[in-house]
């Protein structure tokens, strides 16, 4: 019923597979990009978000959805005409004891509800709660649009994992996904260190975040983010919570925020979240509560939605940076 196509007959020899540059893209693009390339597919990535893509998403998506999901609709529609399939996985769980986000669980169904406007989707369910065997089965099903050889799919997956590990090593080394994508600007003699926390799809989308990372760099900040922290550190910080969070990506956001709050490695923290984000509405309480309790490091929460203006954002960021400098005693 949904626009899901896996029939062998309709398989082009060398399919073009679209990866929307939204949601989990910043997290996993080396993995899937390499996977599909290895299998001989042409990989098309939708362009970075701009006003046109955003408007297409706003127009197609339900008005109650959160901004990143609306944006995802825009990216999918942009790819619709150019590719054989758009890759929209249903990522249910990436670890045994947590989910991703309900919206990711229902993502292929929401895109499918576009009806005739929906492109052919390449979609499988990835659920680590069901174990590795089930997970690999889904990998094979995805790979089978390009090849009948399960060995080849396996090799492609291994190659993808290597690319992903390499990417994550780079991030741990202190660069952001923006720098890897070539969208970041170099730092300018930074005199402040600012921790930026939030979902990768918000923070690294230059349009949605109104270029927060580059903006901070331009004003003399060195930006550190959650991706630069080893999983062990995040896990240790999460022990501060009496009840484990059941959303994997929120755990990363909360863990990195707690780390910045408690270590004092940074001069200030900016928490970027999008309006109507379900999990963030609660984790914002956890993070702000923790920051208030320790009150070592100043923190600012920035909430963005489709009506946010760049001027308002710029003013707040500038004021925050000035305040941090003043606190450091460098400007009087």
């Amino acid at each position: 019923m949904l626009g899901r196509v896996t029939e062998r007959e309709t398989r082009p020899m060398r399919p073009t597979i679209g990866l929307p540059q939204a949601l989990v893209y910043h997290k996993y693009f080396p993995l899937w990009g390499e996977f599909f390339s290895y299998l001989g597919a042409d990989v098309a990535v939708s362009g970075p978000t701009d006003k046109r893509v955003l408007n297409a998403g706003l127009e197609a998506a339900d008005s109650e959805l959160c901004l990143p999901v609306k944006l995802f609709f825009g990216h999918v529609l942009e790819l619709a005409q150019q590719v054989d399939f758009v890759f929209v996985p249903r990522i249910v769980a990436v670890e045994g004891d947590a989910f991703t986000c309900p919206k990711l669980l229902g993502l292929p169904d929401m895109i499918g509800a576009l009806g005739e406007r929906a492109p052919s989707l390449l979609s499988e369910t990835f659920n680590m709660k069901r174990g590795m065997r089930d997970f690999y089965k889904s990998v094979y099903k995805v790979g089978s649009v390009c090849t009948d050889s399960s060995i080849k799919v396996y090799r492609a997956w291994r190659s993808g994992l290597r690319a992903q590990a390499d990417y994550e090593r780079q991030l741990l080394g202190g660069v952001t996904p923006l720098d890897v994508l070539g969208q970041g600007i170099p730092e300018k003699e930074p005199d402040l260190t600012i921790g930026v926390v939030g979902h990768a799809y918000n923070v690294y989308d230059r349009h949605l975040s109104m270029d927060l990372i580059n903006r901070l760099r331009k004003s003399g900040g060195r930006v550190v983010t959650g991706e630069m922290l080893p999983p062990k550190v995040i896990e240790r910080e999460l022990q501060r919570l009496p009840k484990r969070l059941f959303w994997s990506y929120e755990k990363e956001v909360v863990g990195s925020a707690f780390h910045f709050i408690h270590t004092g490695d940074v001069d200030g923290i900016i928490f970027l979240l999008s309006f109507a984000c379900g999990p963030d509405s609660l984790t914002q309480v956890l993070i702000e509560h923790e920051a208030r309790k320790t009150s070592k490091t100043p923190m600012m929460s920035l909430v963005v939605d489709e009506h946010s203006g760049e001027a308002g954002m710029a003013t707040r960021v500038e004021a925050f940076v000035d305040m941090l400098r003043w606190q450091k005693g460098r400007v009087c």
Partner: protein, 368 residues
């Protein structure tokens, strides 16, 4: 220790019964009012969903009236509800309230924590005693649900306005007094008889509407502006997709509804092929069931920013087009007013009647 708990439909009847069996001292929080909502909105996070805000209000009002221990349910996600208790705790600590909170985690996922929570509130009761109390209270709760289900089916036909509601309330009163299993069975039979004795006009032509959505919105009349009663009294036969004991019970068979979770998955397949937490898939699944049964329309209630229901709402336009069924979604938050809801419902009913007339002969639309 004096325990209290948030409101949600008839949950206070069930909780009072259980706490009395366990000999726990408790108070029922003041009924949810606009004041409760205002307190909740003032302290709870801005874009949290409405149930969180109102239950914070319930808790604060309960503490004001002398409670010191707050009881709350937990959960394992992915719906936000599972993290409510932790959030509420921090929100209330931040405003300097002094209380302790006991969270009841799902007995299936965390049996040890579930038992521990009962040990905290009723230290001198054995596990067996707790289990028996739970079983009996639950059986009683199920009777409350069955009565409510019956009420929604009958009230559209009542001759004297308000007579079914009065009979239902009298039935609840009878049931509340029942203690032993025998008394519960007897009171239930009596309450059911009270409902069935209400004079009905069986010839009356009624619309059939399925009411679906998020459980708190469906169960709590304060937030849904009593739409069920309003619809019933405007000649609408109702079926609802959520009942309290089905929702809190560990069984996946949902005895009150008679539609298991597996059925829901099967019915929703193709539109929402995976569970998305909360009632998201149930909303779609039950809608499909109502369509199969020839219902005239669907009313969908959800709190603003509710993740699972927003997914369902995204899917509804396509489903409604494919299946040719009118669906009316209400996104409810603290700004929603009753007049707006009623106006839209009136228009919706007009639409449903005219569709029926077009389909082949039914009564003329009469302005009342």
């Amino acid at each position: 220790m004096r325990a209290s708990f948030p409101h949600m439909g008839n949950i206070h009847l069930l909780m009072s019964d259980l706490l009395e069996r366990l000999e726990v001292e408790y108070i029922v929080a003041p009924p949810t009012t606009t004041k409760t909502l205002e307190i909740g909105v003032r302290h709870a996070p801005e874009f949290a969903c409405l149930p969180l805000k109102i239950t914070v209000g319930n808790f604060i009002e309960a503490l004001d009236t002398g409670a010191d221990t707050l009881l709350m349910a937990g959960g394992t996600g992915p719906c936000r509800f599972g993290y409510y208790a932790e959030t509420q705790k921090r929100v209330m600590e931040q405003i300097g309230l002094d209380f302790s909170m006991v969270t009841f985690e799902s007995p299936a996922a965390h049996p040890a924590m579930f038992v521990k929570a009962f040990k905290t509130i009723a230290p001198d009761k054995s596990v067996l005693q707790v289990w028996r109390a739970l079983k009996t209270s639950f059986a009683k709760g199920r009777c409350f649900d069955l009565l409510e289900k019956r009420l929604l089916q009958l009230r559209a036909y009542e001759v004297a306005p308000g007579s079914t509601t009065a009979a239902y309330e009298a039935g609840l009163e009878l049931m509340s007094k029942a203690k032993s299993r025998e008394q519960i069975d007897a009171a239930y039979a009596e309450a059911l008889a009270l409902l069935d004795e209400v004079p009905l006009d069986r010839e009356r032509e009624v619309l059939k509407i399925g009411i679906v959505g998020e459980f708190y919105m469906l169960l709590e009349p304060f937030v849904n502006f009593g739409v069920e009663r309003w619809l019933n009294e405007h000649d609408v036969y109702l079926e609802r997709s959520v009942y309290l004991t089905d929702w809190i019970g560990p069984s996946r068979r949902n005895p009150v509804l008679g539609v298991s979770d597996a059925d829901v998955g099967r019915l929703a397949h193709g539109y929402l092929s995976h569970h998305v937490g909360g009632e998201g898939q149930a909303t779609i699944g039950h809608t499909m069931k109502y369509i199969e049964e020839g219902f005239d329309g669907i009313v969908h209630l959800l709190p603003f920013t509710c993740m699972p229901e927003t997914i369902a709402k995204t899917i509804f336009p396509r489903l409604a087009r494919d299946m040719d069924i009118p669906v009316l979604s209400f996104v409810i938050d603290e700004q929603t007013g009753k007049a707006g809801v009623i106006t839209r419902l009136e228009a919706f009913l007009d639409l449903l009647w005219s569709r029926r007339r077009a389909k082949g002969g039914v009564r003329e639309l009469v302005a009342s």
